[in-house]
Amino acid sequence: MKLNGSDIICEVLLEHGVDTVFGYPGGAVLNIYDALYKYSDRITHILTAHEQGASHAADGYARSTGKTGVVIATSGPGATNLVTGIATAMMDSIPMVAITGNVGTPALGKDSFQEVDITGITMPITKHNFIVRDVEKLAPILRKAFLIARSGRPGPVLVDVPKDITAQFTEFTSEKPKKPANVETSNDDVAKAVKLINESKRPMIYAGGGVISANASEQLLALAERADIPVSCSLMGMGGFPSDHRLYCGLIGMHGGYGSAMATDNCDLMLVVGARFSDRVAGDAKSFAKNAKIIQIDIDAAEFDKNVLIDLSIRGSAEDVLAKLAERIEKADHSEWVDQIAKWSNEIHCTQEDGDNATPEAIFAELNKIMQPDDIVCTDVGQHQMWTAQMYNFKKPRTFVSSGGLGTMGYGLGASIGSQMGNPDKRVVLITGDGSFHMNLNELTTLASYNLPIVVLVMNNQVLGMVRQWQKLFYDRRFSHTDPCRKTDFVKLAEAFGVTGMRISKAAEIESTLKAAFDKNGPVVVDCRISKDINALPMIPPGAGADKIITEMN
C-alpha cells in the first residue's frame, strides 16, 4: 500500500510494538503529528512541557519496562533540547529511538529557520544516527534504528527526517522486526571462570547495569546463592540483587558501604557483571580490588581493560553467561567471609540526627514500609540520589530509575512520567532535591494534564547539597553559589500547576503526610524540609581507597 512518510513512521512504530511515545510538536513535524492524530487509537502520545522532559520520559519508560523508549521532537531547538536526554541514555546504555524533524531536503544546509545539524551534534552521544534523504529508505532506516538500539549493548539512536520526506508517498509493506543477533560466549572462557570461582576463598560479585538490561537478576541470584558469593551493586545495578538478602553488601563505590569497600580490598576474586569500573566505583583504578583476580562479563568488548586491567574477560549477555556459570560451578560455603563483610558493614554508622526535624533516614524508613517490591523509585542527581541508593530497600530490577553515568540533574521528573506511563499499575515515586527539581519542574504540568499519580518527594535542604558537601570537604567551606537563597514555595508551586502540595518539616509528620500523599491517587508534591547539613555518607574521596572512607562531617 502507498503511504506517506509520516504514516510509515507510525507503521514502523507499531511493527515494533510501540504503543507509547513522548514528544512535542513543531513546524517540521507537523506531518508526523497529523499521522499521530490518525493513529491515536493505537499510539498514545504524551505531550510534555519541554522536549528534554520528553527525552527523559522515553528513557524512564525504557528503564522501567525494558522496552525501547521513543521520543519525537521538531527540528532546531526541539532537536537540541533532546541532547541531554540522549546523552543520559547513552551513558547508561538505555535503548531509545529519537525521531527529529528537520527542514525539507532542499532547505538543508542553508541555515533555514529552525535548522540544525542534529546528526552532527548527536554523533558522540548516540550509538548511531541517520538522516533520511529518500522516503524509500525511511522504513528500512527506522527498522535499523530499532535494531541497533537493542543490539549488544543497548543505546540511543536518532533518526532525523526532513519535512518533505514526511509528506512523500511510497510503497510500504509491514515487516516483522528483526531480533538482535546473539553474542556467542566462549565455553573456554566460561570454563576458566568456573575454575577461578571454584578455587576462590573470598569471592565477591560487583554487579552493574548490565544485569538489569540483560534481565539477568534471577541468574545472578542463582549463581550467588549456589557459590555463596556476596554481591555489591553499582548505582546502575541497584535492584539487580535483593537488598534484604544475606549476601547483599550494598552499594559499591564513592558512596557505597564500608562492607563493599572492604570486600573489594580483601577479596581474592572479583566477578564483575555488566559493570564498567567507572571512576565513581573504582576511584583509584590501580589499586581497585588489588588482591583479587578479576573476571569481567560484558557484552561490549571495549569495556575490557578500559579502566581497570582484568584477568579474564567473558564476552556475552549477562543472562547467558551467568546461567552457564551457575550450571557448572560447585556449590560452596563462604559463610566466614560473608560474616566478615557483614561485620565490616556494621562497623561504621553514618546516622545523622536532627532533633525532632525530619531527616532523609526517617523518610526512607517510612517509605520502605509503604512501597511494594514492584513499585518504582525515580531520582534526580545529588545527595538525595545517594540516600535513595543507600537507604531504599530495592528488591526487584527495573524499580530504580536514575541517571548514573551522565549524572543529569533534572532527569527525574521526566523519567517518572515515562515510568508511570509504562507501568500504570505500579506506584511511581520521584525522590528529588530542590536543586534538581528546579531544573525541570515545568513537567509538573504534564503530571496534572494526564493525572499521573506520581508522588514527588523533594528533599528540600535549600542548598545544592552535593556540591556544597564537596565544598565543605575540599574547598575549605567556601560555599560558592551553592546557597542560592531561593524563595520557592513548593506547596504553592504544585498547586499553581494543578498538583496537590504537602509539606513535611517534623519527623512526626512523615508517616501521616506520606500516607495522605499516597492516598490521593493523583499527582502530589511533598516538600520535605531537611537540614542543609545532612550529608551523603559514607563517602570515599575521589581517587582514594576504603581506608580513606569519611563517616562523619559537619
Binding site: M123, P124, H128, I131, K137, P140, I141, D300, A301, D305
Partner: protein, 174 residues
C-alpha cells in the same frame, strides 16, 4: 615507526563516516598522525588508513574495540609492517631557478619522480613510495628549498592474495 601503528578499515562510503571515525579519536584523546580515506573498487565502500601514534598495546586494543562499535565500519585491523604493504604519494614544489633546472631535472630522473609543473623559479614534482622512501628522497633534495609540500598520508594493504573484507553491503542502509 616504533611508536606508530597502522590501522586499515573498510567503511561505508557515506558523508558522515570520516566524522564518526575522527570524532572518536578526538573525544577519546587518541593521536592520529595521518588519516586517509579513499575510493575502493566498490562505490559503496571507502578504505581508510589511519596512522596512530601510540606505544601502548592496551591503548591500541581500546582504539580498535571502540572503532569496531562504529556501525559504518565493516572491518578494521592493524597492518603489521611484516604482513602488509604501504604506499604514500607526495607532491613537492621546490625552489628551482632556471640556472639549476638541468641539474634538478637529472636528480628527479634518477629518483623516478614525475615533474608536473615548471614555473619561472619553481618546479613541482610528484612521487610515490613507502614513507621511508619519500623521506630518503627528500634528503637528496636538501639543496633545494621546499616552497610547499602535500603528502597524501599512508595507504596500506595486506600482503596477501585474499581481499581485506567481503564487500557485503546488505546490512548497510542509507
Amino acid at each position: 615507526m616504533s611508536n606508530k601503528k597502522v590501522l586499515s578499515a573498510l567503511v561505508r562510503n557515506h558523508p558522515g563516516v570520516l566524522q564518526r571515525v575522527s570524532g572518536l579519536f578526538y573525544r577519546r584523546g587518541y593521536n592520529i598522525e595521518t588519516i586517509s580515506a579513499c575510493a575502493t573498487e566498490n562505490p559503496k565502500f571507502t578504505r581508510m588508513t589511519i596512522v596512530v601514534i601510540t606505544n601502548d598495546e592496551l591503548e591500541m586494543s581500546q582504539i580498535i574495540r571502540q572503532l569496531s562499535k562504529i556501525q559504518d565500519i565493516r572491518r578494521i585491523a592493524v597492518m603489521d609492517s611484516d604482513k602488509a604493504i604501504f604506499s604514500e604519494s607526495m607532491m613537492v614544489k621546490f625552489e628551482c631557478p632556471p640556472e639549476c633546472r638541468t641539474e634538478f631535472l637529472n636528480l628527479t630522473f634518477r629518483n623516478h619522480m614525475n615533474v608536473l609543473y615548471i614555473g619561472d623559479s619553481t618546479a613541482t614534482v610528484t612521487m610515490t613510495g613507502s614513507p621511508d622512501d619519500l623521506d630518503a628522497v627528500l634528503d637528496k633534495f636538501a639543496a633545494y628549498r621546499i616552497v610547499e609540500m602535500n603528502r597524501s598520508g599512508l595507504s596500506a594493504m595486506e600482503a596477501s592474495d585474499r581481499p581485506f573484507a567481503e564487500m557485503d553491503d546488505a546490512e548497510f542502509i542509507n
